[in-house]
């Protein structure tokens, strides 16, 4: 009886020993994986910080302005002038009633197969 118990306990302790060792090794593995991940994250955060700094530089008015100046003539652009601003009050009022005669003429022309837009498109060579 007591011998069987002893054998059983011996067996259990061997199994538990093996279990504890397996656990220990798996924890070591997890820990090193965690360290590797942490290093990777830190590395990428570092790279991210550099990219963010790059982005901030590229967005600076002080960085964009010289580029615009360089291409000013080619693109025909420049700082906005006062005359370029309009106001709602400056828009002409809508005509009192629609020009029905002209509309009728337009619809008649379209139904005959003549589209006035085509003529404009051909003239301006718009494809």
């Amino acid at each position: 009886m007591i011998r069987n118990l002893n054998i059983f306990l011996l067996f259990v302790s061997v199994v538990m020993l093996a279990g504890v060792y397996a656990l220990k090794f798996s924890i070591e593995g997890t820990a090193s994986a965690r360290t590797a991940l942490a290093t990777q994250i830190e590395d990428q955060e570092g790279q991210l910080s550099l990219l963010k700094a790059d982005w901030a530089v590229l967005n600076q008015p002080g960085h964009i302005d010289p580029i615009i100046k360089r291409h000013q003539e080619e693109l025909a652009i420049g700082p906005v002038q006062q005359e370029q601003f309009g106001a709602f009050t400056a828009l002409p009022m809508r005509p009192a009633k629609p020009d029905t005669a002209a509309m009728d003429a337009l619809f008649a022309a379209i139904s005959e197969g003549i589209d006035p837009i085509d003529a404009i498109l051909e003239m301006e060579v718009i494809e």
């Binding site: 955060e45 570092g46 910080s49 550099l50 963010k52 600076q60 006062q82 601003f85």
Partner: protein, 578 residues
């Protein structure tokens, strides 16, 4: 057990054997107990030892945490980054682990040739656990050093401050030292406020810090800085500076002073003359101070906007006679005194108010103390505690006292916003927060008169701000020129001047005020002059022309806008308003 089964054997031996065995067992148990106690003692002793051991967390006197501590990013009012943290590698060595110092020195110097050989050898010799070799390197250099494979040489990642705007907002931002502590500008202020505390508590780690939002608009800041740089070459000036405030909230929209420095290289801040002229420079403000005199006199009720003043002859004070520059030498109405920038007329306006009342008004406008502001670089203005007759006379047109351009900008903000003094700030502040801080210094009617006077100076013929207005047509800018002669060898020199232009726009419903300073300008060409209208004035016009659309101000050319700010009393006298 064997003894018991052998029952018949003579007795003594058995008893002896049992006793012997019993004794033996007891001895064994004792030994076992001793062994177990010793074992346990060993284990707990080791535990205590481990518990007592202090791992060295410091790097050359600093905690490891302090080196990797981060600072919050600084954003402008539109969310554009003005300062960010970047992670950079720093090279360190563990001398006790270096095997061959000579080889290490030789190899390191192939990658970092600017390291001094003797210094490096000295650095790597010894028994220390940690020494810096070179901090804040580039990833490329890190790669090259790693490739050398020297034992005992390694990298640690540090946080470094980076300012993507380079020089543009240098004086606002200031800079940080190699340990990431603010040494100037808003960086320094942030440290005294909060960041230092956070870092001390160990909270400022990683990228989780809330960004700090400033009131500065980088677009406006860029235009201002660019125009100031342009002024340096255009007028061959010694220095130029400018500041723009939101008059209702006191927020600084732009603040620049050239020559400046690159905050990414803090050493450039040590070069002479790069100080912040807006906050830590004090100057005799010259004629832009006449607006202060007008404000005080009109507000006290001692003079009315329609009063006339005798400017026919200069005013004598003992041996001195104060006269006008390009004087009209006739009787001038108050708006004319302002528009022609008459010294005589301004003195008479001040005298109507009384010199002690005038001095009290300067205190009310806080001209005699430092402006409450975040930047640590501030200077105390020099305003005499009490005025003599002649002292008050010169002070009325801005001589004999020195204040910073920020004082002037703050005062002008109060002059045009309805008469409320609001201390400037670099942090975002909304109108409700600002209203709680308002301090009434003028009546709203006085503020309306001043708006009229400033606009008058820009649009009427002979007004000193007309050249400014030409550039900024339609944006309803108004302001006052100031040409302050510098003291050279104890005398005022007419060739060396400091020029100012203090302005506000759009004057029908003012929102911004600006003070521009150009130090010792020369004439741009043979046809132009050196007075403030030619340089500080036109510079203001060009800046407004660029920034008004950015600030959401649409141009308006209708005359009705200018007419509506003319006070009723003036209209009775001059029906056309000017």
């Amino acid at each position: 057990m064997a003894a018991i089964t052998e029952g018949h054997v003579p007795t003594i031996a058995i008893e002896g054997a049992r006793k012997q065995r019993g004794n033996l067992t007891q001895a064994r148990i004792r030994w076992m107990v001793l062994a177990v106690v010793l074992g346990l003692g060993l284990v707990s002793g080791r535990l205590v030892q481990l518990g007592m051991a202090e791992t060295d967390q410091t790097i050359e006197g600093q905690t490891r945490d302090a080196i990797t501590a981060t600072r919050p990013p600084i954003l402008d009012r539109n969310g554009l980054e003005m300062a960010v943290d970047i992670r950079v590698p720093s090279l360190y060595a563990e001398p006790r682990r270096i095997i061959d110092v000579e080889e290490a020195v030789r190899e390191l110097r192939t990658v970092l040739p600017d390291l001094d050989e003797d210094w490096l050898r000295d650095r790597l010799t010894g028994d220390q656990g940690f020494v810096w070799v070179k901090r804040e390197l580039t990833p490329a250099i890190q790669e090259a050093v790693m490739r050398l494979g020297i034992p005992g040489i390694d990298f640690i990642t540090e946080s470094k401050r980076f300012y993507p705007g380079m020089n543009e907002a240098a004086h606002i931002l200031g800079s940080t030292n190699v340990d990431n502590q603010g040494i100037a500008g808003i960086e320094r202020h942030m440290d005294t406020e909060s960041v230092a505390l956070l870092q001390e508590l160990g909270l400022a780690r990683g990228n989780a810090l809330t960004p700090v939002e400033l009131s500065v608009d980088m677009r406006v800041q860029h235009v201002l800085h660019e125009q100031l740089m342009d002024a340096m070459t255009r007028y061959q000036a010694v220095a130029a500076a400018g500041v723009m405030l939101d008059i209702h909230t006191g927020e600084v929209i732009a603040l620049a002073s050239v020559p400046d420095f690159n905050p990414n290289e803090p050493a450039t801040a040590l070069v002479k003359d790069t100080f912040n002229r807006i906050t830590s420079g004090i100057f005799e403000p010259g004629s832009i101070f006449k607006t202060v005199t007008m404000a005080g006199a009109l507000d006290s009720g001692a003079v009315a906007i329609t009063d006339e003043f005798d400017a026919r002859y200069g005013i004598r004070f003992g041996r001195y006679t104060i006269d006008d520059f390009h004087g009209k030498h006739r009787i001038l109405a108050l708006p004319e005194v302002y528009k022609y920038s008459s010294n005589i007329g301004t003195i008479r306006v001040m005298q109507a108010m009384g010199k002690d009342n005038y001095r009290a008004f300067l205190s009310r406008m806080k001209f005699d103390k430092r402006v409450e502001f975040e930047l640590p670089e501030m200077r105390v203005p020099t305003v005499p505690d009490s005025f003599s007759e002649v002292g008050a006379a010169t002070a009325s047109f801005g001589h004999g006292l020195s204040v910073s351009p920020l004082h002037m900008a703050t005062a002008y903000a109060a002059f045009v916003n309805g008469g409320n003094y609001i201390a400037p700030t670099l942090y975002k502040r909304d109108i409700a927060e600002a209203e709680a801080l308002y301090e009434r210094v003028l009546r709203p009617e006085t503020s309306a008169y001043l708006r009229y006077l400033m606009r008058l100076n820009a649009i009427s013929t002979g007004g000193s701000g007309s050249r400014m207005n030409k550039a900024a047509q339609g944006y309803r800018v108004g302001g006052k020129t100031g040409t302050a002669e510098k003291v050279v060898d104890g005398r005022y020199s007419s060739s060396k001047v400091t020029n100012f232009f203090a302005s506000a726009f759009p004057l029908d419903n003012p929102r911004y005020t600006m003070v521009i300073m150009v130090d010792e300008p020369k004439a741009e060409n043979a046809q132009s002059g050196t007075t403030a209208g030619w340089n500080a004035g036109t510079l203001t016009g060009r800046v407004v022309q660029r920034v008004a659309p950015m600030l959401g101000i649409a141009p308006d050319f209708s005359e009705a806008v200018d007419q509506q700010i003319v006070p009723a009393e003036v209209r009775q006298l001059y029906p056309e308003g000017f």
